[in-house]
């Protein structure tokens, strides 16, 4: 009996530690659609995802900055990813969401067309961004490959960087 128990414990232990090493190699992303493409950001850079709420326009800003909104007492900028990526703007739908991302002290909300899913991707399946885009300017961190699709992983730091 106790031998069996010991075996089970060992097994569990192995599974657990095995899992641990796996987690290290896997990156967790949240996928979303903007325009026709699927993008993703690391799950840990997301503070929260909310349904659209009203915002206030801020003058003297580029068009992709919709304005600011109130997130439980904090005033947070709202950026439309469609126009940020040079796509045509679209009316908000039932599926539109604000993803609030943070990088250090920088926080901003991003309007996306719809969420897809949380993605676990082994690190080896992530390739570098296409060479055609210069490393410095690119908002793309890398490209994740899954069986039937390609997911662009965005640099949150770059998204939250003011460029005007």
């Amino acid at each position: 009996m106790s031998e069996k128990l010991q075996q089970i414990i060992n097994k569990q232990h192995k599974a657990l530690s095995g899992d641990d090493t796996k987690i290290d190699e896997v990156i967790q992303l949240v996928g979303f659609i903007v325009g026709d493409e699927e993008f993703s950001v690391p799950i840990l850079s997301i503070q929260e995802i909310i349904k659209p709420i009203s915002w206030t326009r801020v003058p003297q800003t580029p068009a992709y900055i919709l304005g600011v909104f109130n997130l439980r007492g904090s005033v947070i900028p709202l950026i439309d990813l469609r126009s940020r990526f040079g796509l045509e703007t679209m009316k908000h739908t039932e599926e539109t969401r604000f993803i609030v991302m943070k990088n250090g002290d920088d926080v901003a909300g991003f309007v996306i067309d719809r969420l897809t899913e949380a993605i676990r991707l082994p690190k080896r399946d992530v390739g570098p961004a296409p060479d055609t885009i210069s490393e410095e300017e690119s908002m793309i961190d890398g490209v994740g490959k899954q069986a039937d699709r390609i997911i662009t992983i965005l640099k949150v730091g770059k998204l939250l960087e003011r460029n005007f």
Binding site: W55, V58, P59, G67, V75, P77, A108
Partner: protein, 838 residues
Amino acid sequence: MDEFQEILQDFLVESFELIEQLDQDLVELESRPDDLDLLNRIFRVAHTIKGASSFLNFDVLTHLTHHMENLLNMARHGDLVIDADVMDVILESIDLMKALLVRIRDKGEDSGLEISGCVMRLDAVANGTALGETVPPPAAAHAAPVSEPAPAVAAAAAEEEPDYSGMSDAEVEAEIERLLAKRQAEDAAKRAAHAAPAAAAPVVEEEEPDYSGMSEAEVEAEIERLIAVRQAEDAAKRAQKKEEQPAPKAEAAPAPVPVTPAAAAPQAKAEVKPAPVARRAEAKEDGEARGGSTVEQTIRVDVKRLDHLMNLIGELVLGKNRLIKINDDVEERYEGEAFLEELNQVVSIVSLVTTDLQIAVMKTRMLPIGKVFNKFPRMIRDLSRELNKKIELEITGEETELDKSIVEEIGDPLVHIIRNSCDHGIETPEVRLAAGKEETGTIHLKAYHEGNHIVIQIVDDGKGLDADMLKSKSIEKGVITEKEADGMSEKEAFGLIFRPGFSTASQVTSVSGRGVGMDVVKTNIEKLNGMIDIDSEVGQGTSMKLKIPLTLAIIQALLVGVQEEYYAIPLASVLETVRISKDEIYTVESRSVMRLRDEVLSLVHIGDIFEVERVFDNSEHAYVVVLGLAESKIGLIVDSLVGQEEIVIKSLGEYLKGIEGIAGATIRGDGGVTLIVDVAALMQMAKSVKSTVGQESSEAKGRGGVKNSASDYCVMIVDDSKTDRTIMRKSLEPMGITLVEATDGVEALNVLKQGDHIFDAMLIDIEMPRMDGYTLAAEIKKYNKYKNLPLIAVTSRTGKADRMRGVESGMIEYITKPYSPEYLMNVVKRNIKFNEGL
């Protein structure tokens, strides 16, 4: 190490506090050189700092303060007369001391500053006077013998004490005389002992290290001896006190007294040293006594904690605003219900307590403005010596309190203004006498509260500002053009001194006149949302009034609307609001202006500043918010005034910081975000958007009825039937006006919103697919700017109910089909105020 840091921090805080008071005391001292209290206070500062710095191993500082102490001590005992020259040396040493303290604060060490020059001067002053009056030698000679008999006498006195009760009045008199004499002798001894190290500083320094060479037993003995001396002196003092109130209680004293002085006497002989030691103890006692009276009721709190508390209060205020808003909504919906009363009570209590709490926390952040004022007497003194003028500074209201953050910001502007008054305002004594004024000029620095503001007034009785001179100087320097100068009022001309690049001093002095300074004043005051008001009369003097809000975090704001947006304007910058008719807007050199009483006020539309998409605005009236900041004024045209609200300033965050014209954001009662206008930036921006303002106003005029041709009139026809649209078009075409067609309500609304045309009227059919005429009218009337757009119903519905609905939805005319072309034309003409002459 941590403990050391803590001690160091305390030392620095204490030292800076002491020094702050010091400057003022010193200047006062110069006018009252024999005020012993003042001297004592100054002496103690040097002494305290010396003591603490030697403990903390700041040798340079110790060395400096030691020499200061010597000098001050001589003055304290009347061995040195404080005159202006001595004062210069003292002030110099104090500046050096400050520099050293700053260095310690910043770098943690006091090396690197040259103090030997100052020390030499200190010694020279001390010795020069001392030798000149030959005080030290006799004093030193006295020292030994006098300090010997003193305790002895005390002992004798103590022995005799029990007799007092039996003495006659005369005897008591005599006794008092004797004791006084004894006291004087003691004092003389002490003074001599003080003077000795002053005159012979090296000797003391040589003596001190001796301790290190002593054996432990010797040190023990020395300590014991010093304690004994101390006790003896205490006893003597106690006896003295008893003597001063010759009550029978005196009997209590005798027992211990005879013993200690007896033991002390021979030892006191041995060295002259004990006196300074005792003195140090004395000073410490003084320090404690002083500390005891003020410290007991206060605690030091980290400013960060107060800031945090203030932030929390800010959140609470937002919550309160929200609660009030919800309460209003609930009140409306459940009017007359019993629970409303209770809710009302709770809301008002919460709101009351929040306000009180906010005031309470604000008060904890308040500091008396004296903190800033304190440095000015010294400054004036230095300046008047430098400029060879006679200037007196009067300060009132230094106890007036304001927020710490503002106290920190207000110092620099005041320095500049006062320097300016000294340099440019107050004349030289000769000029003043010639002008029939008193030789000494006065600068009056005044602070007082006025509502939610603190007013700081700087008044000088100097030569005043000459508006014409200011103008010609400005033109000369290219600050303004001649044309601008002509249109300037006197007040505006005074404001020129705040322009960058302006300086009235024909000669640049080290004090001012470098052309910076005053524009810094303006920037700083604007940063605080403050206002500057200058009043001046040539020959009589100048008065400058700074009006600054008491606190920065939570402010009163005026909420204004433009199209569908709202903005908050700090109420501190709002002078007044006026409702004007569009006819009152004039265009001067492509700038919109209006007449406000006897002033000409330049106008700017808030929509131009903040790029608000402006759809046609037909209203005849405009609201003008008159903004005043520092010394400039501007009229801001807005669509509506919402009201006054208490708002909490929140930052827009790193991503959006530094947006021109926006000072921050606040969260309103309804949870929405409202942007706060940065009035200073807005005024700056108003200068560059003048062209659009011009257009805007000519547009406004156009709307007002001055159409250049018939085609400037524009009417929209909304009907789903092609035939009906054609009939209307045919009827109106003879007028030559522009006609735009829409097939239903939705399309009409879109055309309207696109803003390609500015419509003077709309002809609307009632029955239409997608959106009918009533709904369309109601939708249009929701927009502020279409409030006065004439909507004319053209329909076959003739029932009274239909007409009623038409009126309710905002139609002003009701034309029933069929109609004659002339009738339609007349109705349209009437409604668009068609000018037949075109």
